[in-house]
């Protein structure tokens, strides 16, 4: 048995815990503020590129392909299409949703870019590409300028979208 009363007996140090805590402010910028303020009103706000006419939601302030400022604000529908999805079954630190859950790319009507959303009110084995979904918002009193205002998306009951209508957005 190792003698741990001496340094020799204790073996090498293999782990050193050095906690790091740093706080950062977050600066959303002009374009993302449009999106965040929209969320606080229960609306999805995007922006249109003046050059190619594509609508981005959320917009980061530039058209990613043209590199020019997106300046025209566009309000988008509350409904959209699931372009693709996966079912998450991995527990991880900070996770707030019970697994398994559906993580989908949702293309809002009027937008040219899908974004990631949680799908609920449907068994995980019934989700499919092309499903039409609608956003479910938190109560009006609880709306904030963050994605926490959107509780999740759920099936809207409309017929599935035709594959051709969203295949460019996969």
């Amino acid at each position: 048995m190792a003698d741990d009363s001496t340094i020799e007996g204790r073996g090498p140090v293999t782990t050193l815990a050095t906690p790091i805590r740093l706080d950062f402010d977050f600066t959303p910028g002009i374009a993302q503020s449009v999106f965040l303020r929209g969320l606080a009103r229960g609306r999805f706000m995007g922006q249109r590129c003046p050059k190619c006419g594509k609508v981005y939601v959320p917009s980061r302030g530039s058209c990613p392909t043209d590199g020019v400022p997106t300046t025209e604000d566009v309000e988008l529908a509350n409904v959209g299409t699931v372009t693709t999805y996966c079912v998450v079954n991995v527990p991880f630190a900070g996770q707030s949703i019970e697994i398994p859950y559906i993580c989908a790319q949702v293309l809002l009507d009027g937008a040219n870019l899908s974004f990631m959303g949680l799908i609920q009110e449907i068994p995980t084995d019934e989700i499919r590409m092309g499903m039409r979904v609608e956003a479910v918002w938190v109560d009006e009193a609880d709306l904030t300028p963050s994605l926490a205002s959107v509780k999740y998306f759920r099936p809207s009951g409309e017929p599935d979208a035709d594959y051709e209508s969203y295949k460019e957005y996969l």
Binding site: I20, D25, T27, T65
Partner: protein
């Protein structure tokens, strides 16, 4: 073939732009900060993103507090169709170096280099602690100003400088900054007045510290026909090198900068007279060390832009030195200039770029 440091294929600083340096830009995200800078650096010489063959940027995630901060920043350029593009987790001066190597090779004729640094989002003194040895140094949380103060003390004790010289450097820098519309801190205060400032960490008084700055900068590099098409008076890079020192502060002579001296030698600083030097010495005392290492005499005009004491956007301040030095030549104020950039605690890593007019 170009042996270390010396240019064989002439490459010019065709264009330079920088953001208005500010203590804190609350209004814009990184893309919105960069977009006008990129538009200006192209617009000044009448080109578009389609005229450059390579893009290289410099930035660091820890200023933002999230991984992959360089990724979305690329949307400020609009890399479509896809482009040859690279990124260094270093000051933009090193991004410029990487781009220069491709131009030397002849693989590309023009490159966009940009960098951005939002120093204001967290506690910069603490953030920079994470640059230190993670086992022996960082857990003690020595902050960056205190480390600089250790260096300043060593410099005073060696007899090479004094608090009065630090103050004189700060006074000159902030006075010169009055003529730089992009500067963050400018003013005309006497050395006597500055010496009445309080100490932040002795022997560094408030004036000897750089401001905390949000900023961004961009440069277009061009070779061959493009260099001449895009400028009547090209500013050429004639020498370029950078060197690293060891990390442990205890193993270094903090009063000298052998890496700067080596880079200066390899880049050929002494092959001709130097009119202007833009030195990336964030702390006033570091200018003394770098100036000595570069072997500059009193005739050399140091930091006419005001230097990092007037604006110190992390990850961009080095690139700005190169841009500012090039502007001195373009405007006819200098014929030959030296730009310097630094990285790491107490001038651990240093870069030297020699620029000449036609």
């Amino acid at each position: 073939m170009s042996p270390a440091g010396r240019t064989v294929r002439p490459v010019s600083i065709a264009s330079f732009a920088q953001m208005q340096n500010v203590r804190r830009d609350d209004e814009h995200n990184e893309v919105e900060m960069l977009m006008p800078v990129v538009a200006e650096v192209f617009g000044t010489i009448g080109i578009t993103k389609d005229d450059v063959d390579f893009i290289c940027s410099g930035s660091t995630d820890y200023l933002i507090g999230g991984p992959f901060s360089f990724v979305m920043a690329l949307d400020a350029v609009g890399v479509w169709p896809p482009r040859a593009e690279s990124h260094v987790e270093m000051d933009g001066a090193w991004a410029l170096y990487e781009a220069w190597t491709l131009l030397q090779e002849g693989e590309v004729d023009a490159a966009l280099v940009y960098s951005f640094g939002r120093s204001s989002l967290g506690d910069l003194r603490e953030i920079l602690t994470l640059q230190l040895d993670p086992y022996y140094l960082a857990p003690l949380w020595p902050d960056t100003v205190s480390l600089a103060a250790l260096q300043a003390r060593a410099l005073i004790d060696s007899g090479k400088s004094s608090e009065a010289e630090f103050a004189a450097i700060a006074a000159r820098s902030r006075k010169d900054a009055l003529a730089n519309p992009k500067a963050q801190v400018a003013g005309d205060r006497s050395v006597d007045e500055l010496l009445r400032d309080e100490y932040v960490v002795s022997p560094l008084r408030r004036h000897a510290l750089p401001p905390i700055t949000d900023g961004a900068a961009a440069v277009v590099l061009a070779a061959g026909d493009k260099a001449r098409q895009w400028s009547d008076k090209p500013v050429w890079i004639t020498g370029f090198d950078h060197r690293m020192e060891t990390h442990s502060l205890g193993a270094r002579d903090l009063t000298s900068s052998p890496s700067t001296a080596k880079a200066a030698e390899v880049a050929g600083v002494h092959d001709g007279p130097v009119d202007v030097a833009e030195i990336h010495a964030p702390y006033a005392h570091q200018e003394v060390i770098v100036r000595e290492a570069l072997g500059l005499d009193d005739s050399v005009r140091i930091n006419p832009s005001g230097g990092p004491l007037a604006a110190n956007p992390m990850m961009s301040a080095g690139l700005i030195r190169i841009g500012e030095a090039a502007e001195r030549i373009r405007s006819g104020q200098a014929g030959r200039a030296v730009a310097h950039a630094t990285s790491g605690p107490c001038l651990q890593q240093n870069l030297v770029c020699v620029l000449e007019g036609a």
